[in-house]
């Protein structure tokens, strides 16, 4: 078995100069002096074991940034005028210093939006959050019903998330979000998600499922079919103004009408990821050594990585070659998602595996038989069974509470 990594598009011999004026999207392709917003995963530890976890989280990494190191990163973000960060994990709230770092960031003009499965959001924390400015909470839910959600996120995870939503609503928290990764199993529930979210006075956010982390293992099973993608596109056209998307569905713009937001890959240009051990990757969906730009512990810190790393320099120019540039829809979808191509073994200057014009399917079929898709060696998945683990993979679930099942079950 030979693993051949698809190469990044070759950087042009001389980097083209940034144009003056023109569209914002064209400017963004040349990068910014600091990210617009960055994702910062505080820990790889997580109480859940979601089948599609983009960061293969589960166990804490012993090399994770200390409280003092995390504070130094926040100081630097303040100096660089990064006005807010998306904090995630793992489950960020299981870090004992999570609430301290939240306050520290806010005190240093770095607003925080954090993603959580709700495990720590009891009434007291909900009240604390409701009383804090510049903090935004995002509850992850991948099914509008426990049945659909718990199959991928684990038994009891729907109940945990909805309890947290109740606590936030009761505490008078404003503008909190319900964040959904759209899969083959929940794409038919979009209206239900909207209704559920509305019932808590929250805002719905839906994002694209990528074959990153453990997501690669279940990609074939969970990514939306072509017919579902078309439905999703029409749903977004009809409801897009009231739903957040992280601008993640830009590959759907090739159906015709551009979706609201920035339709381009922002990796290393306007976004990036700081992982729990301080490694800086081009995007949250690209935890792989090929997209590792440096570490915040290196001399010069995050700023030097963002502004000076060879990888990010290379990503900061428009794509000029490859099959997609000849396509009539290239201006709409810009070739799609880098991470989705990479982790399905497709060349980065070719079509997205979910290309709505069908070129992705052709490209997937044409992959060399002896070529395997690159896999990240960074994996913090739980090694043993996890309480209430997801049933999608056909592994029998361990009851969330032992009392949920008769003590005599299986004994006759």
């Amino acid at each position: 078995m030979t693993a051949v990594l698809p190469s990044r598009p070759a950087a042009p011999a001389a980097r083209p100069d940034r144009p003056v004026g023109g569209r914002l999207i064209d400017q963004f392709e040349y990068g910014l002096d600091a990210p617009i917003c960055l994702t910062w995963e505080l820990t790889y530890a997580c109480n859940l074991a979601c089948v599609h976890c983009l960061s293969s989280s589960g166990r804490r990494d012993p090399r994770e940034l200390s409280t003092a190191e995390a504070e130094r990163v926040i100081d630097e973000l303040q100096r660089m005028q990064v006005f807010y960060v998306n904090v995630g994990g793992g489950e960020p709230t299981v870090r004992p210093d999570f609430w301290h770092l939240l306050d520290y960031a806010i005190d240093h003009q770095v607003g925080v939006k954090f993603s959580t499965n709700g495990i720590k959001l009891d009434r007291k924390r909900a009240a604390q959050l409701a009383a804090t400015d510049y903090v935004d909470v995002q509850l992850s839910l991948d099914g509008a019903t426990a049945e659909v959600n718990d199959r991928v996120r684990g038994t009891g995870s729907f109940a945990t998330a909805t309890r947290a939503l109740e606590n936030l609503a009761e505490a008078g928290m404003k503008d909190f979000k319900v964040s959904v990764v759209v899969t083959r199993e929940n794409v038919g529930q979009l209206d239900q998600f909207k209704a559920l979210t509305d019932s808590f006075g929250a805002q719905l956010r839906i994002t694209r499922f990528r074959p990153s982390g453990r997501g690669a293992d279940v990609w074939d099973q969970l990514h939306p079919t072509q017919a579902q993608q078309r439905e999703l596109y029409h749903w977004l056209l009809a409801n897009g103004d009231n739903v957040l998307t992280g601008d993640s569905f830009f590959h759907l713009s090739a159906y015709g009408e551009a979706l609201p937001g920035l339709n381009l890959c922002g990796a290393g240009r306007v976004v990036c990821l700081i992982d729990p051990v301080g490694d800086v990757y081009a995007c949250p969906f690209a935890i792989h050594e090929d997209f590792l730009a440096g570490n915040v512990r290196d001399e010069g810190g995050f700023q030097r990585v963002w502004q000076g790393s060879d990888l990010f320099q290379e990503l900061r120019s428009p794509q000029t070659g490859g099959a997609c540039t000849k396509c009539a829809h290239f201006d709409a979808c810009r070739g799609g998602c880098m991470a989705a191509k990479f982790f399905t073994g497709l060349p980065l200057d070719g079509p997205d595996p979910e290309c709505v014009q069908g070129y992705g399917e052709t490209a997937l079929a044409a992959r060399d038989a002896d070529r395997t898709a690159p896999k990240s060696h960074i994996d913090h998945s739980h090694t043993g069974p996890v309480r209430g683990q997801p049933t999608l993979l056909g592994i029998p679930s361990i009851p969330a509470k032992m009392c949920d099942e008769s003590p005599l079950a299986g004994m006759q």
């Binding site: 940034r18 004026g21 569209r23 400017q27 910014l32 002096d33 617009i36 003009q109 607003g111 935004d136």
Partner: protein
């Protein structure tokens, strides 16, 4: 085409009457981060982001507080006559998203 219109990524619809004959200023809860093409503006209150797509527009926004009206600011910053309309429109957009605010003249 060179446009100076700041494309607001998010827009808030509260009705703000933009009168370019009055004095304006960068809103006090707004920070501007210089970028190679212009600037990124961020409103700490409503958490909206906008972009100023030219360096001249950045200078205009910063200079608003020193002049008695938008028109006077555009003159002081030597904005070419042909682009005045585009700049007034850009500033009206910024007023709508609360990135600039009315300034009270000292009595």
């Amino acid at each position: 085409m060179t446009t100076t219109e700041p494309a607001a990524v998010d827009q808030d619809p509260p009705a703000v009457v933009f009168d370019p004959d009055l004095p304006w200023q960068r809103a006090r809860s707004v920070a501007m981060r210089p970028e190679p093409f212009g600037a990124l503006v961020y409103h700490f209150g409503n958490r909206k982001l906008s972009f100023l797509k030219s360096k001249l527009l950045v200078r205009v926004v910063e200079a608003l507080e020193q002049h008695e009206s938008v028109h006077a600011t555009l003159t002081a910053c030597a904005v070419p006559e042909a682009q005045r309309g585009a700049y007034v429109k850009a500033l009206a957009d910024l007023a709508r998203s609360q990135m600039i605010e009315r300034r009270e003249l000292p009595a």
